[in-house]
C-alpha cells in the first residue's frame, strides 16, 4: 500500500480505533501495539481493503478481532486487572470540572464491568454513532443481537450511574 493511502487511512480512522481499543484494553501500550498491528497488516496486505464498502466498519472489525486475541493472550490474571478501572487508563479525556471527572471515572469503571461483547456495542453506538446495522456488520453479528446487547449494556450503566447522574442534574 502507498504511503499516502496509509496516511489517509490513519488520519481518517486512527482516533476511532484508538478509543475503541482503549475501551477494551485499558492500557496505552497494548492499544498502541494493536493499532500498529492493524496498520502494519494493511500496509503488508493492501488487498484486504479491495472491495470494502465501509472502511470504518472493516477497520473496527479488525480492531475488535485484534482486541479479542489480546484478551485471550493476556490470560486470567490481566483479565481480573481489567475489572479495576482505577488501576487502568480511562478512555475518557480529563477535564477541569471535578464533578465531570468523577462522572467520567465512574462511567469508565462501569464500562469496564460490562462483558466485552456489550462494551463493544455500547461504545460503537454511543461514541461512534453507528446504527445497529453498521455495528452488526462490523462485529459480524445480527442487528437484533447488536440491539439487545446495547440495551442490556445501557441498562447496567444506567443502574450503576443513575444516582450520580441524578445528583449532577
Amino acid at each position: 500500500m502507498r504511503g499516502t493511502e496509509l496516511e489517509r487511512l490513519y488520519d481518517g480512522h486512527a482516533q476511532s480505533l484508538y478509543a475503541f481499543l482503549l475501551n477494551f484494553t485499558r492500557d496505552e501500550a497494548d492499544t498502541r501495539d494493536l493499532l500498529q498491528e492493524i496498520f502494519v497488516k494493511l500496509a503488508r496486505e493492501p488487498e484486504l481493503l479491495a472491495g470494502v464498502r465501509d472502511e470504518r466498519a472493516f477497520l473496527i472489525r479488525l480492531a475488535h478481532n485484534a482486541a479479542i486475541d489480546l484478551m485471550r493472550r493476556r490470560g486470567a490474571r490481566d483479565r481480573t486487572k481489567e475489572n479495576f478501572a482505577a488501576e487502568t487508563v480511562s478512555p475518557f479525556a480529563a477535564t477541569a470540572d471535578p464533578d465531570e471527572n468523577i462522572f467520567r471515572d465512574e462511567l469508565a469503571a462501569a464500562l469496564a464491568e460490562l462483558p466485552e461483547e456489550q462494551r463493544a456495542v455500547v461504545h460503537l453506538k454511543l461514541w461512534e454513532e453507528l446504527t445497529f446495522e453498521e455495528i452488526a456488520a462490523a462485529l459480524d453479528i445480527s442487528p437484533n443481537t447488536a440491539a439487545s446487547r446495547y440495551r442490556y449494556g445501557l441498562d447496567k450503566l444506567r443502574d450503576r450511574l443513575r444516582p450520580l447522574h441524578e445528583e449532577m442534574k
Binding site: 500500500m1 504511503g3 496509509l6 482516533q15 478509543a19 503488508r44 461514541w127 450503566l157
Partner: protein
C-alpha cells in the same frame, strides 16, 4: 429510537485523544514492514542463507563438521587430479639407456629365476620303506 437524557449525557463525554507522536511511529513501522516484505524478492541469497540456517539450526556443529569433511574430500580430490597429468608426462618416453638397463635387469632376473627353478626342479626324493629298515638306518 431517540436517545434519552442519560444516553445523551454519555454521548457528550469526550474520548481521550490519540497521542500525536504515534502517527509518525506507526506509519514508519508500516513503511518498514512493506520494505521488509519486498526485500525477499530482491535479496534471495540472504533469504536462502537464513532458511538454510533455520534448517541447520538444531545441530550446527554436526553440520559444520560434515561440511568440513566434504571440503577436505574435495581438496584431496582436486590435489590428486592435479598430479595425474604430471605423472603421465614423466612416464611418457623412456630413454634408450633406460631401455637397455631394463633389458639387462630383465635378463638377470630371468637367470636368477632360471637357477632357482633348476634347484627347485630336483626335490628331495622320498621313497617309502618298511619300518624295520627305517629303524636300521637310524641305528647306523
Amino acid at each position: 429510537m431517540k436517545p434519552d437524557d442519560f444516553e445523551q449525557k454519555l454521548q457528550r463525554q469526550p474520548l481521550r485523544q490519540i497521542p500525536a507522536e504515534w502517527r509518525a511511529e506507526i506509519l514508519d513501522a508500516c513503511r518498514a514492514s512493506s520494505v521488509e516484505r519486498r526485500e525477499p524478492e530482491r535479496l534471495w541469497p540472504s533469504t536462502l542463507v537464513s532458511r538454510l540456517s533455520t534448517a541447520l539450526w538444531p545441530h550446527p556443529k554436526a553440520w559444520a563438521g560434515l561440511a568440513a569433511v566434504w571440503i577436505l574430500i574435495f581438496c584431496v580430490n582436486f590435489s590428486m587430479r592435479d598430479k595425474s597429468p604430471v605423472m603421465a608426462e614423466r612416464a611418457a618416453p623412456p630413454s634408450p639407456e633406460v631401455i637397455v638397463e631394463l633389458r639387462q635387469q630383465q635378463r638377470m632376473l630371468a637367470e636368477l629365476i632360471g637357477s632357482s627353478q633348476a634347484r627347485d626342479a630336483e626335490p628331495p626324493r622320498f621313497l617309502p620303506q618298511p619300518r624295520s629298515e627305517r629303524v636300521e638306518i637310524l641305528m647306523t
